[in-house]
C-alpha cells in the first residue's frame, strides 16, 4: 500500500507529460487524453485521501529527489491537499465536458489543441500548488498557472476577450511579482526554501525578536500578491471582464478552480510556513477580515447594479471570495473550516452558474443582458434548472451546498468581541443582497419576454452531454448540502494535520 | 584592488538605476527598448562581479539578445520602426496592406 505515496507526484508529472502529448496530437485525441488524465488522477487523489484517512499519522512527505529536506525538494500530503486536488479535478472535468459544445463555437478549430494543453498545464500547476512543500516550486507553478489561465482566456475568438485577458494578465503579473519578492525576503532572513525548515526558523526568529520587520513585510507581500491573483476586494475589478467574456468552460475553471488554488496556497503559506500564531500577532488577519467583509458587500452591490448575467455571476464570485477571506481573517480553526467549506461550495456552484448562463444566452444569440434573457429558461430548460439550483445554493438556502458555510461562519463568529457583530452583520447584509440579485435574475429568466428578438428553442436531445453534466453538478451540490457531516469531519481531522504535523 | 572593484560595482549599480529611470521616463518606445537592452548588458556585468558567471551568460543571451530581438520584432510588426528606414508613404501603404490582409 505504500505505493500510494507515489500518487501525488505521478499526478503532477503525468499531467505535465499529457500536455506534451497533446501538443503532438490533434484536437480530438487531445480531448480524450485530457479526459483520461483527469479520470486517472482523480482516482489517484481519492486513493491518497483514503490512504491518509486510515494511516496512523494521516500525513506523509515525499522526496522529489534522493535527499531529505532541507537539502532536496519535497511534496507532502495530509488530508486537505488530496481533497482539494480531487475537488479541482472533478470541477475541471465537469466544466470541460459541459462546456464542450460552446467551446467548439468559441475557439477556432485549429487552436483547440492548445486549449487542452493549457487545461492540462493548469491542472498540473494546481496539483503542484496543492501538494508542494517548497516555496520556490510554489512560485514556479504559480507562473505556469498564470500563463496557462491567461491562455485559456485568450483562446476565445472574440477580440473583446483579448482585452479582458490583458487586464487579467497585468493583474496576475503584479500579484506574482509581489509573491516573488516576498519569497525572496523570506529566503534572505531564513536561508531555507522548504516549508518545515522555514517554519522552524521563523518561530525561532520571532521568539528572539530578530528580523521581525522584514518578516512582517514578506508576509504582507506574499498575502497581498496571492490576494490580488485570487481577486480579493480592492483588486476584484478584473473579475467581471475576465469571467464575462471568456468561453463558459474557461470562466468556470478560472473562477471555480484557479482562484481557489491560489487561496489554498495562501492557506498553506499562513498555516504551514508562517504559523497561525505569528499570523495573528502580525495583525494582517484584521486587514484580511476588513477586506473580506468589504468585498462581500461591494461585490454584491456591484452585482445588483449590473444588467449582464455573466457580469453578475462574476461579481457574485467577488462576494463569495470575500466570505473566504473573512474566514481566514478570523483566524480560528472553526473559521478556517467554514472558509474551506466555502471554497468547496463555491467551486461546485460557480462553474454550474457560468455554464448555465452560457446556455441561457445561447437561446437569444449570445446576448447577455437581462431584458433579452427574459423567458430564456423556457427555451433551454436544463440551463434554467441549473441556474436556479446554483442561485439557490449561492443565496444559502438549506439543503444546498451554499448553506453550510454560512451556518459555519455564523457559528465560528461568536467569541471574538466586536468582530462578532461585524461578521454577523456582514453575513446578514450580504445574504439579503444575494437574495436580491439572484432572485431578480431567476424571476427574469422565467418571466414572459418583453423584447422581441429571435429565439432558438434548444431541446434536450441537442445538448445531451450538457444536460447530464449540469444535472450531475446539481446533484453533487445537493449531496454536499444534505450530507455535509462527513466532509466537515474530514476537514476537522485535516485541519489538525494541516496545522500541527510537519 | 578591492576598493577599485567596489567603486566599479557602485558605478555599475548607479548606471543600472539611471538606465531604469531613462526607460521609465522616455516617451518613445523605441528609445526605451534601446535603453533597456543596455540595461541588460550592464546587469550581465553586475552578475559577473557577483561571482555568478552562469547568470551573466544567460542574462547576456536572454536579456540583451532574445528579449531585445522580440521587442524590436514587435515594434517592427506595429510599424513603429519601418518609418526609420522608409519614407512615410510606403510605411502607411504597408500598414494598410497589412490591415487588409489581417482582416
Amino acid at each position: 500500500m505504500e505505493f500510494i505515496k507515489n500518487f501525488p507526484f505521478i499526478t503532477i508529472v503525468l499531467s505535465l507529460f499529457c500536455s506534451v502529448i497533446c501538443y503532438a496530437f490533434k484536437d480530438k485525441k487531445a480531448r480524450f487524453v485530457t479526459y483520461f488524465l483527469l479520470i486517472i488522477s482523480s482516482c489517484m487523489s481519492f486513493s491518497v485521501i483514503m490512504y491518509n484517512l486510515f494511516s496512523e499519522t494521516g500525513y506523509f512527505a515525499y522526496r522529489m529527489g534522493h535527499y531529505d529536506a532541507p537539502i532536496g525538494n519535497e511534496i507532502s500530503a495530509g488530508l486537505l491537499e488530496p481533497f482539494f486536488a480531487l475537488l479541482f479535478e472533478i470541477v475541471i472535468f465537469l466544466s470541460i465536458t459541459g462546456g464542450y459544445k460552446r467551446l467548439q463555437k468559441d475557439v477556432e478549430e485549429s487552436k483547440q489543441r492548445f486549449f487542452y494543453i493549457m487545461i492540462n498545464l493548469t491542472h498540473a500547476a494546481l496539483m503542484s500548488l496543492c501538494y508542494t512543500n517548497d516555496i520556490y516550486t510554489a512560485y514556479v507553478f504559480i507562473e505556469i498557472c498564470t500563463i496557462a489561465s491567461c491562455a485559456l482566456l485568450m483562446s476565445s475568438k472574440r477580440t473583446r476577450s483579448l482585452v479582458a485577458a490583458t487586464r487579467y494578465t497585468i493583474f496576475s503579473l503584479i500579484g506574482s511579482s509581489l509573491v516573488l519578492i516576498g519569497i525572496v525576503l523570506l529566503y534572505s532572513v531564513t536561508g531555507h526554501l522548504l516549508f518545515p525548515n522555514i517554519f522552524e526558523t521563523i518561530q525561532a526568529l520571532w521568539a528572539t525578536g530578530e528580523y521581525t520587520n522584514p518578516l512582517t513585510i514578506a508576509l504582507g507581500l506574499i498575502i497581498s500578491g496571492l490576494a490580488i491573483k485570487s481577486g480579493m476586494f480592492p483588486f476584484h475589478w478584473w473579475m467581471p471582464d475576465t469571467y464575462g467574456t471568456a468561453t463558459p468552460c474557461a470562466s468556470g475553471i478560472l473562477s471555480g478552480v484557479v482562484s481557489k488554488g491560489y487561496i489554498f496556497l495562501l492557506l498553506k503559506m499562513i498555516y504551514r510556513v508562517i504559523g497561525p500564531q505569528i499570523f495573528l500577532e502580525s495583525g494582517i488577519n484584521n486587514i484580511l477580515l476588513v477586506f473580506g467583509v468589504c468585498g462581500m458587500i461591494v461585490g454584491s452591490v456591484s452585482a445588483i447594479r449590473t444588467s449582464n448575467i455573466t457580469f453578475m455571476t462574476a461579481y457574485s464570485s467577488a462576494a463569495q471570495i470575500g466570505y473566504i477571506y473573512m474566514g481566514i481573517g478570523l483566524g480560528t480553526k472553526e473559521a478556517l473550516l467554514a472558509a474551506l467549506f466555502q471554497i468547496v461550495a463555491h467551486s461546485l456552484t460557480k462553474p454550474m452558474l457560468f455554464l448555465a448562463a452560457g446556455g441561457l444566452s445561447d437561446t437569444v444569440g449570445g446576448k447577455q443582458d437581462f431584458d433579452s434573457l427574459r423567458s430564456s429558461a423556457h427555451y433551454n430548460k436544463p440551463s434554467g434548472i441549473a441556474f436556479a439550483a446554483g442561485a439557490l445554493s449561492m443565496v444559502g438556502i438549506p439543503i444546498f451546498a451554499g448553506f453550510v458555510p454560512k451556518m459555519l461562519f455564523s457559528i465560528s463568529a461568536f467569541g471574538h468581541g466586536f468582530k462578532t457583530y461585524i461578521v454577523l452583520l456582514a453575513l446578514a447584509i450580504s445574504t439579503i443582497l444575494n437574495v436580491i440579485y439572484f432572485l431578480r435574475t431567476l424571476v427574469n429568466i422565467y418571466s414572459p419576454a418583453i423584447v422581441d428578438i429571435p429565439r432558438e428553442k434548444i431541446h434536450f436531445s441537442k445538448i445531451k452531454v450538457f444536460t447530464v453534466v449540469v444535472i450531475v453538478m446539481a446533484i453533487v451540490n445537493l449531496t454536499v448540502g444534505l450530507h455535509s457531516q462527513p466532509i466537515i469531519s474530514l476537514f476537522e481531522k485535516g485541519i489538525e494535520i494541516f496545522i500541527n504535523i510537519r | 584592488m578591492e576598493e577599485i572593484i567596489t567603486i566599479f560595482r557602485v558605478l555599475l549599480l548607479v548606471s543600472l538605476v539611471v538606465c531604469a529611470i531613462a526607460t521609465a521616463l522616455s516617451k518613445r518606445v523605441m528609445t526605451a527598448v534601446i535603453v533597456f537592452t543596455s540595461y541588460s548588458i550592464v546587469m550581465a556585468v553586475v552578475w559577473l562581479l557577483l561571482r555568478s558567471p552562469d547568470l551573466a551568460i544567460t542574462e547576456a543571451a536572454v536579456g540583451a539578445g532574445v528579449n531585445g530581438v522580440l521587442f524590436f520584432l514587435t515594434l517592427r510588426k506595429l510599424h513603429l520602426i519601418d518609418k526609420d528606414f522608409k519614407d512615410d508613404e510606403t510605411a502607411k501603404s504597408n500598414a494598410e496592406v497589412n490591415e487588409n490582409e489581417e482582416n
Partner: protein
Amino acid sequence: MNFLINYEEVTSMILFAIGFTMLVFSKNIMKKILGLNIMDTGVYLFLASMGYIEDKLTPIVPPTGEVNALDYINPIPAGLVLTGIVVSVSFSALMLALTVRLYKKYRTLNLDEIYEKCSKEDEEE
C-alpha cells in the same frame, strides 16, 4: 545604518520600485512589459546579492582533492535566478504577442484607449 553596506540590495529595491511603478501606472503596454522586465531583474539582483560573500570563489569546485565549502559563495540564489530569468522571458513573449494582436485590432498601444474603444464597441453591439 545598513543602507551603505547594503548598497546592492538598496539598488535592487529601487529597480523593483521603478519597474513596479511602470507596470502599474504606465499606460503604454510596451512600457508595462519593459517595467515587468526591470522589476524581475531587480528581484533577481536582490536574490543574487544574497548569495555573494566577500573574498570567496565562484562555486565551481576542483574535480579532485578536498573541498572546503567555506571557500565558495552560496550557489542557491544563482540557481534560483537562473530558473527565474526564463520566467520573465516567457512572460514578455506572451505579453508582446498580446500587444501585437491588440494593436492589429485597435491601432494603439495605449491601454486606456483600448479599453475605451472596447467599451464603445460593446455599446454598439
